[in-house]
Symmetry: C2
Subunit: 149 residues, 2 copies
Amino acid sequence: MKKTKDNLRSHCPVNYGLEAFGDRWALLILRDIVFRGKHSYGEFLRSEEGFSTNILASRLDHLVETGILRREEHETDGRKESYWLTEKGLDLIPVLFEMILWSAKYDSQSEAKRIMRLVELIRDDNRSISQKVMEQVKRGEAIVAEYLS
Amino acid sequence: MKKTKDNLRSHCPVNYGLEAFGDRWALLILRDIVFRGKHSYGEFLRSEEGFSTNILASRLDHLVETGILRREEHETDGRKESYWLTEKGLDLIPVLFEMILWSAKYDSQSEAKRIMRLVELIRDDNRSISQKVMEQVKRGEAIVAEYLS
DNA sequence: ATTTTCACTTGCAAAATGCAAGTGAAAAGC
DNA sequence: GCTTTTCACTTGCATTTTGCAAGTGAAAAT
């Protein structure tokens, strides 16, 4: 299909989001960073959903290009690069959380059952729990452990 | 990659959502129903992002299978079928809204600027505006007009 | 009775994905 | 310091998904 000069199908806000992170992998990377404190290519690769190496590389590139992730050299290990959420990426946390709420409701086998305390906090006030989590993630903390019941 | 017996990569709530609506088209169909009151194949086809006919058909099938849409015979026109959001589909409205909020913030050319009243309502309290919109959509109303400024 | 509308399907080309096997540079081990 | 291992990718190729254009069959409109 025809695209606007900036290579988007449209500037509809729903479409803008889809073009940035609307594929099968982007939000899994986000999840790994937020919930598991992962930051490197190798760590993402070990996710249970099984990235293939080239796809992971291309998704990371895309997320860096769209300004959701920032690539940094690892402080001590020169082979590694690490990936961090930018402000734009951190602001996806409320979207991620709203999605978790939906899945928790409709997937009877959801692993969300293991973090019901967090699910209830989201239901009660997504905005403020997201804000809190954004601060933690900024500091490089993984959040899943503290909500495991 | 290997999948669980129910054909999901995992029961991580993020992944569950991605498998249900994590592609470039599903949420555009949702948008067309919610904002524009569309309900038929032909109406979806006319969206500015340009579905191809076979992809639209396969997405609609998938959304019906996953229980997000319900297919109904058109009351008067026997050629048409119409598509309606189920409860499960209506519950995606808060996700859609959270996404709109994000795009409104980061796309400088966002068409969300045309519905800033709604954007502010979402920012202020996504849960209650979503609830209200869910009721309207259930009745088959398109919501965009009333928020155009 | 014929034409138009509608919701798709089919066939094929092009793009994206997935797998297995590299590659090159830095770190670790000896 | 020489070799091996680890790490972050890339490359080549098969498979799957997407996209375009051209049908098809049934119901509605003329």
